[in-house]
């Protein structure tokens, strides 16, 4: 559905996107992950023909976004960051206008608009001025607009930014339902969303793709994974002993009176809990708490994007 080959985008001497290549197949929901300024929005703007690439080839449903721009645009629905809308129009009016603009046949416009209004739970706001809508409703209007011509591909740039937790949940559910038989590319830096919605993740940082895989695989294969917290009454040599356990990469300690909190960084797939408890028993360390935190996408993300490659 989306084919990106060696895409580069430079603004003068600044390289926003540096020779990236990826694909999104039909029916996939792919998360485009990266910190602010990573190049997510720029890439999306190039995909939607808003910006031209400096070099590289991008195609949507087989149509090159530069050579056959109009054909490519007909097949995608785009929700830009900050959901720009016309405040002086009513919701229904705006959607009818956008439907006509995108080539929905006149006889079908009423029907399509009615459908998307229902889909996005906007039916009761049809006659309301966009300027007076809350952020959540604005987002839904933007989403409705992206859907009104029934595109096969949806490209959403940070669709839940700035929404309160309830609104986020609504929009997230909405997106999951819409994804139905469509292909979706969502950019975000809100990680829990990715874990919930996406089948695959592309991590981008400073214009380069750092990783692309399913969320599961990323978690499994990533090297720096897992942290174990141990609160015990142990002597000074304890850290060293703990460090000696297989799979433990590093240990930090924090004294709090009698008790020490040890934080162990672990290798992937290591579960030294049993060993540690046995050790504690042997050495007579009273243990108050032990908890192994499995790696989250956040850890993977932080690791991939904090390093200054």
């Amino acid at each position: 559905m989306i084919q990106v080959e060696h895409l580069t985008k430079k603004y003068g001497t600044f390289t926003a996107v540096n020779d990236i290549s990826f694909q999104v197949g039909k029916g996939e929901i792919v998360g485009f992950l990266g910190p602010n300024g990573a190049g997510k929005s720029t890439t999306m703007k190039i995909l939607t023909s808003f910006l031209p690439a400096t070099s590289g080839k991008v195609s949507i449903a087989g149509f090159d976004v530069f050579e056959q721009s109009i054909e490519a645009r007909k097949r995608l629905g785009y929700l830009p960051e900050n959901t720009p809308l016309y405040p002086d129009m009513k919701v229904g009016e705006y959607l009818r206008y956008r439907a006509a603009l995108k080539g929905v046949p006149r006889s079908k416009i009423r029907e399509r608009v009615g459908d998307v209004l229902d889909l996005c739970h906007l039916a009761d706001r049809e006659k309301q001025l966009i300027g007076s809508l809350s952020k959540g409703y604005r987002q839904r209007t933007g989403l409705a607009d992206a859907l009104v011509h029934d595109p096969d591909l949806l490209i959403l740039d940070e669709p839940t930014i700035g929404l309160d937790p309830n609104q986020i949940r609504t929009v997230r559910e909405l997106i999951k339902n819409l994804a139905n038989k469509r292909t979706v590319l969502i950019s975000t830096h809100i990680l829990p969303e990715v874990e919930i919605m996406c089948s695959r993740v592309i991590v981008i940082h400073k214009g380069k793709i750092r990783a692309t895989d399913t969320a599961e695989n990323l978690l499994k294969n990533h090297r720096s994974v897992g942290e174990l917290r141990l609160e015990a009454r142990a002597g000074d040599g304890a850290a060293g002993v703990l460090r000696g356990i297989a799979g433990v990469k590093d240990v930090t300690e924090e004294r709090d009176g009698d008790w020490t909190t040890f934080k162990l960084r672990l290798d992937a797939n290591t579960r030294p809990g049993e060993q540690i408890l046995k050790l504690a028993q042997e050495r007579n360390w009273p243990v108050r708490e032990m908890h192994q935190k499995s790696a989250t996408l956040e850890d993977v993300f932080a690791d991939l994007t904090m390093s200054e490659h």
Partner: protein, 264 residues
């Protein structure tokens, strides 16, 4: 074509949604009414060689207000879209750049035509009223002059050409900047310069060189108005205004396209 019409209808509607439109309509029509009334009074005073149409349009009140219309109706065209970010949703819809530029241009032209329509009626109505029994010599003459279709149709033709030209300047200015006021100032300054420089150039340079008079004849809208108001259509002026308008639209299109090449 359908896309263009959809864009066009949206442009015209959005112009009428803004308060500015009504400010322009009310003040312009009020002034034109006043202008027309004083023109009739003037013609009424005694035998003159100038037609009613000419008096109405070839005077300071009209030319003072006229240039102000253009920044007001064109400043929003692109600037608003840039500022609101809707340029992005517009550009990523399956529309091409020419459709966008031309819809904004013709939207403003449509508003301009609607603006002038009532004034067109003044002359028509005057003609009808004046021929029903008022036997005063001068008014009858003026009525006949006003009635002569040639005279005011040509005047309105010039107004249309001039209007299209100035609107294209306004649209161009709007495509350059994000701020409406900035766009308004650029277009106002340009329109005023264009209106007054040809006439003032000779004065400023303190020369009576016949070349200045000729140049003035080519460029000055005041001179053109005087001629058109007498029923004369000079095709040179028609070509001049049309080609300048087209040129500006082409430049606007280029500017609009190249905006995307700069940093977002």
């Amino acid at each position: 074509m359908r896309t263009f019409l959809v864009l066009l209808s949206r442009e015209v509607r959005s112009l009428f949604y803004t308060p500015i439109a009504y400010v322009v309509l009310v003040f312009f029509l009020a002034l034109m009414g006043f202008n027309f009334q004083s023109a009739v009074t003037f013609v009424n005073q005694g035998p003159t060689e100038t037609t009613l149409v000419e008096v109405t349009f070839y005077n300071l009140i009209f030319w003072f207000v006229y240039p102000l219309i253009f920044p007001l109706i064109t400043m929003r065209a692109f600037s608003d879209e840039y500022r609101m970010g809707t340029i992005e949703t517009l550009s990523t819809a399956p529309v091409n750049d020419w459709q966008i530029v031309l819809s904004k241009f013709f939207g403003a032209v449509a508003f301009y035509v609607i603006l002038f329509l009532p004034t067109f009626l003044y002359f028509k109505l005057f003609g009808w009223i004046a021929t029903t029994g008022q036997k005063v010599h001068d008014i009858a003459q003026a009525a006949q002059a006003a009635q002569s279709a040639g005279t005011y149709i040509t005047t309105y033709l010039l107004l249309l050409l001039l209007g299209a030209f100035f609107i294209s300047i306004g649209i161009f200015a709007s495509s350059l900047v994000k701020d409406q006021v900035n766009a308004a100032i650029i277009s106002l300054a340009t329109v005023l310069l264009y209106l007054f420089v040809p006439n003032l150039l000779g004065l400023m340079l303190n020369s009576t060189d016949p070349r200045f008079t000729r140049m003035r004849g080519f460029l000055s809208p005041f001179d053109h108005m005087r001629d058109f108001a007498r029923g004369m259509i000079d095709t040179r002026q028609v070509v001049w205004y049309l080609s300048m308008t087209v040129l500006l639209l082409v430049i606007t299109h280029q500017v609009f396209q190249s905006r995307k090449l700069k940093a977002a």
